[in-house]
Symmetry: C2
Subunit: 292 residues, 2 copies
């Protein structure tokens, strides 16, 4: 979080978390594991999901609407639990809101640079996130020697929403998406290029839906590269970032009681309960439908 | 089309066609093949796609917005090129607009009843279309002895938009979605139920994206059922319905010159050109971005 205005943020106020849909609940899950005392108001813009294939201008307009709704609910900070929004709209949100705003990309890039140890970082994300070049810029700002390779993997979003997180189909989808890693390795070997920087050293789950496929991604990346590589989850990295920020600004919720969780959505989609539970990792309580 | 007001429809006026996204271009393709002289204004609500997973109330609100925009452009009739909208919003559209409105479900159901010849009709569609029960009602109104079995197949939408219409992944996705046909057949055989009405006699492509998977669906349905079954495309059936309607009301475009095609979208998504061309079957011309 690079900007803040702590007048607005009493320690007991909730965190405002938003995403284009329900995938951001994986960030809520990571926040509740890392910061159990924090109360959270979550907004899923399910009426306009997905953002990942939309133009940057449209994503920015939608993101400002989501963040302003959370601001009206008195949150102490905004956590953007959506890689696409983090990729194209953080500056706009910071300009339009008088609240600290954090995203998932910078924390994810930081964890990736540490895990890759000088090798190339492979980012799996939506079409919009990859096209934005946001991970490439974030990694370049942290380490001039670390290369980034982005692979758009939009079908993993559909598979997660369908609940097809096991079996042959998700494995084959992951395998097909990771084919560039095989081609890369074969080309390197043909050239006799043994430079560490040319080899993939970590894979980033650059979309909130992808932790559900972590095992497949680990296994198929190891298969493609001929060796295991660390997989970095941007949701976990984002929760760490929020913890650091709250501590530094003395904004962390006091006490040890479990914080409250309020869920708001712009549309109650079919199969909401099942999909939300798969991301959140616990049963969802009541949900409120809001207009944007 | 059950309602019309021909004062509004000069023969030379265009048809207004809309869909939640670009999939409705398969209906435009069928219309241009069947009715080459008709001019068409197509609206794809790409800023709010997909409709298939949204609540019926939201789909109705979006659909009215789309149809009114086309009405302001002077179209002579509205063709709803979206199964989800046809399933839940046709009555609302007819109440709100002073124009004839046709959909894809009634024509698709009519073609399915003819093809199934007394056997069961299997409809592949979005979650929203299946949940609406619209095909079941439309088939029941045409034939009291024909049963309907709906299978929600939302991942086929994602595969079409990703351009993965060939290879192992779409085949396995189709095969997994058609597993209920295998279970059904095994249960029938175990019961010794040889009644024709219990066996699937045709498969309906109940979503505008699915013609792209026609071959896989034909092959996998034959594999699941142990015999080939006809596959009915609701886009082709809808174009036939429009042709009948225009002829009956003397609204068909005069002459033999190829009609114009205007494309409007609410957002220009990434990969628009490639995806639009795959549905339309020809290169797209200029596209206009409109606000809703």
């Amino acid at each position: 979080m690079t900007r803040g205005n702590t007048e607005h943020g009493a320690r007991t106020a909730p965190l405002g978390v938003f995403d284009s849909g329900l995938g951001g609940l994986t960030v809520v899950r990571a926040l509740r594991a890392r910061l159990p005392a924090e109360s959270i108001v979550y907004l899923g813009d399910t009426a306009r999901v997905p953002y990942g294939s939309r133009s940057a201008a449209t994503v920015r307009r939608y993101a400002v609407g989501c963040a302003k709704l959370l601001a009206r609910r008195g949150v102490k900070a905004i956590v953007v639990a959506c890689n696409t929004v983090s990729a194209v709209a953080l500056e706009t949100l910071r300009a339009e809101l008088d609240l600290p705003v954090s995203g998932v990309i910078l924390p994810g890039a930081r964890a990736a640079v540490a895990a890759a140890r000088g090798r190339k970082v492979c980012v799996l994300a939506t079409v919009g996130t990859v096209a934005s070049g946001a991970y490439t810029r974030a990694v370049a700002a942290l380490s001039s020697r670390t290369e980034v390779m982005g692979i758009p993997t939009p079908l993993l979003v559909g598979l997660a929403e369908e609940g097809w997180t096991e079996g042959e189909v998700p494995r084959l989808v992951v395998r097909r998406y990771l084919e560039p890693l095989v081609r890369d390795r074969v080309a390197d070997e043909a050239r006799g290029d043994a430079a560490a920087s040319a080899r993939v050293g970590c894979v980033v789950l650059g979309c909130t839906h992808f932790p559900l496929f972590r095992t497949f991604i680990e296994e198929e990346a190891a298969r493609a590269l001929g060796e295991p590589v660390p997989v970095v989850d941007s949701a976990t990295a984002a929760a760490e970032d929020v913890a650091d920020f709250l501590a530094a600004r003395e904004l962390a919720a006091p006490g040890t009681a479990q914080g409250k969780l309020e869920l708001c959505v712009t549309d109650v989609p079919v199969a909401f309960e099942r999909v939300a539970r798969s991301f959140l990792g616990e049963a969802v309580g009541t949900v409120e439908q809001v207009d944007l």
